[in-house]
Amino acid sequence: MFDVLFETVQEGEEKYGSWLLSGLGWTVALAVAGWLVAFAIGVVVGCARTSSHRPLAVAARLYVEIFRNIPIIVQMFLWYFVLPELLPEQLGSAMKKWAPPWGAFFPALVALSLYTAARVAEQVKAGIEALPYGQRSAARALGMTELNSYRLILLPQALRIVLPTLTSEVMGIFKNTSVALTIGLLELTAQARQINEFTFKTFQAFGAATLAYLALALCVFVLMHWIERALRVPGTEPPSHRRARAKQKQRVA
């Protein structure tokens, strides 16, 4: 079905399948690196959004508004095309001469991380706001600093609440990596397009890439589900699970 992947590229040993694998590699590298940065920034900004320190909360709000309301492709263009022009002459031209793939990878990474971080921040904020206000008051009454009350009391609970919605953000960053093809990174979609242009076997080229994206989504789903279970506070599993287990016990008895 996908025999084009095992055909060799004109006058060479290389197979088209290796193009696709290399694309897959860049997609995964960009998504994983982007997610780590986005999660770190997102948690900090999300906490700042709910902080009692007013200027901090306003700055965080501004960050979210800017990075969430500009399309990811435009943000990528800003980092890739516009930033080198605004930097001092030498630095700018050094950036422009930076050869692919890294010259495209880093602008894409910065754009994806900052964009996704704004979305993560909103989820984290929602998680913190879902907690009873008494949690915050109790932490302060115990003499905790604001930093400690976030670190020890609020975040551990809030992050568990938002874990299911974060799953869709992780899937989102994997899909958004495809935008990097517009600044010349040869990730999965770009490689599929390139194979199509060389061979005109559209169904096989795009079909293989589509299956790869489906497999990635499945991996993310399984991994996040596993993390969710591993981090669950004992005795707080969702009621449907509890009911199922109770039924099982009845049957055994």
């Binding site: 508004e65 800017i66 969430r68 309301n69 500009i70 399309p71 990811i72 492709i73 435009v74 943000q75 263009f77 800003l78 095309f81 516009v82 022009e85 605004l86 930097l87 001092p88 899937m171 899909k175 958004n176 990596t177 495809s178 935008v179 093809l181 517009t182 979609t189 599929a192 397009r193 199509n196 559209t202 795009f206 890439a209 589509t210 994206y213 489906l214 989504a217």
Partner: protein, 231 residues
């Protein structure tokens, strides 16, 4: 640095950019209306558990939601001519160009996302509503049209509107088909006059202003028309 930032470039390009923006908005409107209607249909078929159709549509929704929009755009760009050739019996693939590809793709793509939102809304409706409608002698069609859907739409409208703001942002991806939306128009001028800084910053500011405004409106609507908590 910012010294040679030239505002006259923007003023000169503005009519062309505006034309691009109008196309972005048209695409958003078509994606919203078409996607929502199709999405409601998909959600109903899945909610009523129509045999075979509900499994096929479930697979469609999962598939579309797992792959990037750019990939979907490429698929439709290559598939649509073949489908049309088959449907009209034409001797060779019927080329429809990037604009129509974009309209069809956004309708089909957004339908999958709206369907999931509507389906979540359908699940939140109390079972007694169906029983009461049946007791009043309503048909299934009347029950959904007059009782269930109005409640669902109202309950999920903030999420629907937020999704529509994302849709508006996503229309910028038709850049990969070389269509002339707001970003496409800007990039054409940027490349012709090598005015990348002015053009791309303008596009960013326009999107920022429109999307911030829209999300403020959604926030206000959410507060004003929120269904009071039942329980």
């Amino acid at each position: 640095m910012m010294g040679h930032f030239d505002f006259s470039v923007i003023a000169e390009a503005w009519p062309f950019l505006l034309k691009g923006l109008v196309f972005s908005l048209e695409l958003t409107a078509v994606g919203f209306v078409g996607g929502l209607l199709l999405g409601i249909a998909i959600a109903l078929v899945r909610h009523l558990e129509v045999p075979i159709a509900s499994q096929i549509l479930g697979g469609y929704v999962t598939l579309i939601r797992s792959i990037p929009l750019i990939m979907v755009l490429f698929w439709f760009f290559f598939l649509m001519p073949l489908v049309l050739m088959w449907a009209t019996g034409a001797p060779r693939p019927v080329q429809i160009g990037p604009v129509w590809t974009a309209f069809v793709t956004f309708t089909m793509f957004e339908a999958a996302y709206y369907a999931e939102i509507i389906r979540a809304g359908l699940k939140s409706i109390h079972k007694g509503q169906y029983g009461a409608s049946t007791a009043l002698g309503m048909t299934t069609w009347q029950t959904y049209r007059l009782v269930i859907l109005p409640q669902v739409i109202r309950a999920v409208s903030p999420i629907l509107l937020t999704q529509t703001i994302i849709l508006f942002q996503d229309t910028s991806l038709v850049y990969v088909l070389s269509a002339t939306d707001l970003l496409g128009a800007a990039s054409k001028i940027a490349q012709r006059d090598s005015r990348l800084v002015e053009m791309y910053l303008t596009v960013a500011v326009v999107y920022l202003a429109l999307c911030s405004l829209a999300s403020q409106v959604v926030a206000v609507l959410r507060q004003r028309y929120a269904v009071p908590a039942r329980r």
